[in-house]
């Protein structure tokens, strides 16, 4: 589809050793191109979430090679990986939305403050812009704990976008939402992919969600069965 790849994984193998030795991922090869909206599907325990955490650089216990923007990230130090996550990867989870003690705006600003490549005023402006883009700018000064589930997930998306990442990864981002909010989140993702050329890699159970995306990767027993 696209010539430039954002994410490339070569021969990823992963073992769990506790409670019993288990070969979770078997020779997984995968590329995600720029602007591609990809979903990963499969039954529980097929290793799709495990794969996502490896691709997101959070899990470093694997064999194989991982490239982000054609740069090898396998074997980098924890601090370097933290920087890569901060700058290039946006995250949306199923349960872990926000820091509940902080305001919505602060939640969105935090990754940019960590990156510290912009002035505080520029960060605030960018955060408000992202919130406006997702139609939740009115919630900016509310405490995160007081939001509804759908609102929280949209704030989480805004936070994932704050550093203008190369790719957004989601682990069942709609898994905990009702159908209305789920389709709302899908629409946002779709728009980001089409309008902003953002790559997305979403792990999901939701067939309706998956069928509307550009590409579905099916996994079974630690292998990619269809791509």
């Amino acid at each position: 589809m696209n010539t430039s790849t954002v994410l490339r994984a070569n021969n990823i193998n992963k073992h769990f050793y506790t409670p019993e030795p288990f070969h979770v991922l078997k020779d997984v090869n995968l590329t995600v191109g720029k602007g591609e909206f990809t979903t990963v599907m499969g039954k529980s325990g097929c290793g799709k979430s495990t794969l996502l955490y490896i691709l997101s650089t959070m899990d470093t216990q694997y064999n194989g090679e991982l490239y982000i923007h054609d740069q090898l990230v396998t074997g980098k130090t924890a601090n370097e990986l933290a920087y890569i996550r901060n700058k290039h990867i946006g995250f949306v989870f199923q349960f872990h939305y926000l820091l509940s003690d902080f305001s919505v705006l602060e939640n969105v600003m935090l990754p940019a403050q960590k990156l510290a490549q912009r002035s505080p005023t520029a960060i605030k402006a960018a955060a408000l812009e992202k919130l406006a883009m997702l139609d939740i700018d009115t919630l900016a000064y509310k405490k995160a704990a007081n939001l509804s589930g759908g609102e929280k997930q949209r704030v989480a998306i805004a936070r994932a976008l704050i550093n203008d990442p190369a790719i957004i990864m989601g682990d069942e981002p709609t898994g905990n939402l009702d159908s209305h909010n789920a389709s709302n989140v899908f629409d946002i993702f779709k728009r980001l992919s089409v309008e902003n050329g953002l790559s997305l890699l979403i792990v999901t159970h939701d067939k309706d969600f998956a069928t509307k995306t550009d590409r579905i990767i099916q996994m079974k027993d630690g292998r990619i069965v269809s791509n």
Binding site: A78, F95, H96, P111, A116, D171
Partner: protein
Amino acid sequence: MNWTMILKIAKTHLLTKKRQTIIAALGVTFGIGSYITLVSFMTGLNGMLDDMILNQTPHIHLYNEIRPSVLQPLDYLEDSGLTAIRSVRPKQRQKRIHNALALLKHLSTDQDVKAALPKVEAQVFYISGPIELGGVVHGIDVIQEVNHYNFKDYIVNGTYQDLAQTPNSILLGAGIAQKMSLDVGDRIRLSTIDGNVFSLKIIGLFQSGIADLDAVQSYTNIKTAQRLLGETNMYITAIDIKLHDMHKATSIAQSLEQQFGLRAVDINTANAQFETGTTIRNLITYAVSFTLLLVAGFGIYNILNMLIYEKMNDIAILKATGFSSSDVHHIFVSQAIIIGLIGGILGLALGLGLSMAIDQTPFDTSALPTVTTYPINHKLSYYLIGLGFALFATFLAGLLPARKAGKMDPVHIIRGQ
């Protein structure tokens, strides 16, 4: 490292857990507060006791002791290896120090010596009406005595200037005055062993707090004491030496003894038990304070540990969005130090308040007539040590939980739910 951001997260965590933060800080407050109070009070007491003993006692007391000669004539014979002389008696010697004025002059040029004060001791009978009491009169150089010792703290009803300025005056022991129903302004007659009787004016009372002493001992000018004994101004029975460095007392006393053939008693020998008491009191102070702070430290450790489990979600999110282990570590260490800082400063205030209150509490002791309230030693260094220790203890208490938080695996937390 983005400290404003880290401190902001730490602050938010603490503010949302206000009650726990306050409890943790209060632990430090009480620990530091009691440390300050204890250490100020204890060192105040120590200082008072030090003053009582040290400033009353000369570092070296030089006098002529009646004792048998160490070497008896027989010992001068060669080959007198196995001789035993029984019933040796000392010879009657004069009590005065030979050539005392020259010795005083010599001592005052010595670099180690701060002051050498002459004394004349006279055995007398105090006579008032039909009553006769045996006792001792010390002839002293009052002005010097006040300059170098806390002599004037023991004068009740009178001033030392009066003693220095009034001829034929006496500072009567409080016990004697009580027994004889005498008071300041009255006259008292003194009879020496030779039978000379003098009439002296009581210009004040002396109360050392030791009843046995106050019942026999009085003070006059050195000149008055010499006249009492019918002696010239060469007559000096003892010399009290004050050194710049008290710890040299033993060695200097020994060399003086050898050099001048006098008896020299140094303060360390005379008050050996005293130093031990001070050391033990200090030890107790520090042991108690340390225990209090240790307990406070455990409180902080506990509360931070709990906080970390409550904030696991936050830790996972922070790490997933690119915060490094050291960022998370710093967030929790900062929380510990903020608790230590707030608790510590409040503790200093508490300690200051308590010690001020103690400082105002009445304290009646006959041992120290001039002391009216409990002694407190306000010293800046205790406050600095207190704050430093508060920060150090909370830092240590925060270190382990913070390391745990820094090491937490976000994948583990996220998948765990």
